[in-house]
């Protein structure tokens, strides 16, 4: 596909939403001016942008802290979740012991545990990562387990006819079939991870975007709060894109198989 046509397609795909966003921002600016709202109630987009530029160095630092907490917790959670899923799938005993427990734990809001982690681990980065691990591990575990367990019976029969061992079934059939489920769960987990890191920072921290929001809230610096909020949004979008991109690269057969 030549570049021109490609650009044309992108334009066609994203132009409407882009126009919508621009209109929304303009409307916001207009309404704030029309009712001359004070900055601490609702700052206009222009004021937020100005604050953003003014504090850009500090904001960048706090953003990097939150990104680090999010990604490190997410990765540890995803890897642990995947490994646990494989173990639970391979052993009936583990399955019967842990699966019901998991379902119960999954329904507890893990962020409510944030204060506990602050007590146990202090105000540093560690408790944030711990919460992030905790919130990201369960979606991965439950979804991947589903993908590992519910494989087409005919595939299993086929493997039996060819005398495949349990380990071969795991590596040749179960794990590849579970990967689409794994990546779907990653998309959920990455968003949870951002939330986890922020909650950790809300509860007790001296750096990170959650901390920035708390501090600027007590100073009634609403513009700075919004600047931090938009950065959080950007982190979420960036991380989700990262996951989608790696799925596209690692599982080319899946997307196309669905389209076909």
């Amino acid at each position: 596909m030549d570049l021109k046509r490609r650009l044309g397609l992108i334009k066609e795909k994203y132009l409407p939403s882009l126009v919508f966003i621009i209109l929304l921002v303009l409307l916001w600016e207009f309404l704030v001016r029309l009712f001359s709202l004070p900055e601490y109630i609702l700052p206009s987009p222009l004021m937020i942008a100005r604050t953003f530029l003014k504090f850009r160095k500090i904001l960048l630092f706090h953003t990097s802290v939150t990104v680090f907490e999010t990604l490190s917790g997410f990765m540890v959670g995803a890897i642990l979740g995947f490994i646990l899923a494989v173990f639970i799938c391979m052993s009936d005993f583990f399955y019967r012991t842990f699966y019901p427990v998991l379902i119960v734990i999954q329904s507890i809001p893990k962020v409510a545990l944030a204060p506990f982690f602050i007590i146990w681990m202090g105000f540093g980065i560690l408790p944030k990562i711990a919460i992030t691990v905790l919130v990201s591990i369960f979606p991965v575990l439950v979804n991947t387990l589903h993908g590992l367990v519910f494989v087409k019976q005919e595939l299993i029969d086929l493997m039996k006819v060819f005398h495949a061992s349990k380990i071969q079934v795991l590596f040749k059939i179960r794990i590849p079939s579970s990967l689409p489920f794994f990546f779907t769960s990653l998309k959920i987990s990455i968003i949870f991870s951002v939330v986890g890191a922020i909650i950790g920072e809300f509860v007790g921290a001296n750096k990170g975007l959650g901390y920035v929001i708390m501090i600027s809230s007590s100073n009634l610096n609403t513009s700075l709060m919004f600047a931090a909020l938009f950065l959080l949004g950007a982190i979420g979008v960036f991380c989700s894109l990262l996951v989608s991109l790696s799925e596209k690269m690692l599982l080319p057969w899946h997307k196309e198989a669905k389209d076909a």
């Binding site: 087409k152 595939l155 029969d157 039996k160 060819f162 005398h163 040749k172 590849p176 057969w253 198989a257």
Partner: protein
């Protein structure tokens, strides 16, 4: 070598769940001659698939006995006696045609040179499609891949479980002809399960008609139509007569 490749002796099977037990097969006996093409015909739910699974040793327990090449089934199961094709092609979507066909070799860590995958690909008419992924194939092509995969160990017995069920009429007809061509070339014993009466008669030397649940043998019909069979075969009065007879047995 015994002339009978498969002997099914008084096979019965019950499925039991919590409260009920369901008898799916009852007192089934028949035999399949070496190198012959035999079909099992019956309505949906009469236990055809279960019977096939019992024969190749993946559905336990059952009552009665299965002899494969004169040996008890359990012992026979250790060898590569069977190739199997299911109703769904059950290809692995992350492997191309070539690697799907070679999956059984990998599972048994067999040297690849010993089994001529390329010859097999030519045999089933997939030459040039080796690198294609399953989702890029038509349903008929997928069925061909599944057949090639089943034949990789040169099995003595090819089991086919409604293998052409999901195909359109034309593709199905073509694959019936292709299957006869392949069978003629490799001279294996074929046991073919279907609910399509005319397909069964077109392909087979002998058809085994099962009753609805619990499945029992209603009748064994020898099909004495001349070979090689082609599109004209279906128009022969003898063919039509056998189809009519079998249809009456089933209704």
């Amino acid at each position: 070598m015994p002339e009978k490749m498969i002997e099914v002796l008084k096979i019965g099977k019950e499925f039991t769940n919590n409260f009920k037990s369901l008898e799916v097969l009852k007192d089934i006996s028949f035999s399949v001659n070496r190198g012959s093409f035999t079909s099992i015909v019956g309505m949906s739910g009469c236990g055809k698939t279960t019977l096939l699974k019992i024969i190749c040793g993946i559905s336990n327990p059952y009552s009665g006995q299965i002899l494969i090449n004169g040996e008890a089934a359990l012992k026979a199961g250790k060898n590569h006696y069977f190739g199997i094709v299911f109703q769904e092609p059950t290809l692995l979507p992350w492997r191309n045609v070539y690697n799907n066909i070679e999956l059984p070799l990998e599972l048994n860590s067999c040297p690849r040179t010993k089994f001529k995958t390329d010859d097999l690909i030519r045999l089933v008419g997939l030459k040039g499609f080796e690198d294609v992924m399953p989702h890029e194939l038509s349903a008929g092509m997928k069925a061909r891949v599944a057949i090639a995969r089943a034949l990789i160990f040169h099995p003595s017995i090819l089991l086919m479980d409604e293998a052409f069920n999901n195909l359109d009429e034309i593709t199905r007809g073509n694959l019936n002809l292709e299957l006869l061509r392949i069978w003629k070339e490799i001279k294996t014993t074929v046991l073919f399960v279907t609910h399509n009466i005319s397909e069964a008669i077109f392909l087979s030397d002998r058809i085994i008609v099962l009753t609805p649940r619990p499945g029992t043998v209603r009748k064994v019909i020898d099909v004495d139509l001349p070979r090689p069979r082609d599109k004209q075969t279906r128009r022969l009065p003898e063919f039509i007569e056998i189809v009519e007879n079998a249809r009456e047995l089933l209704s």
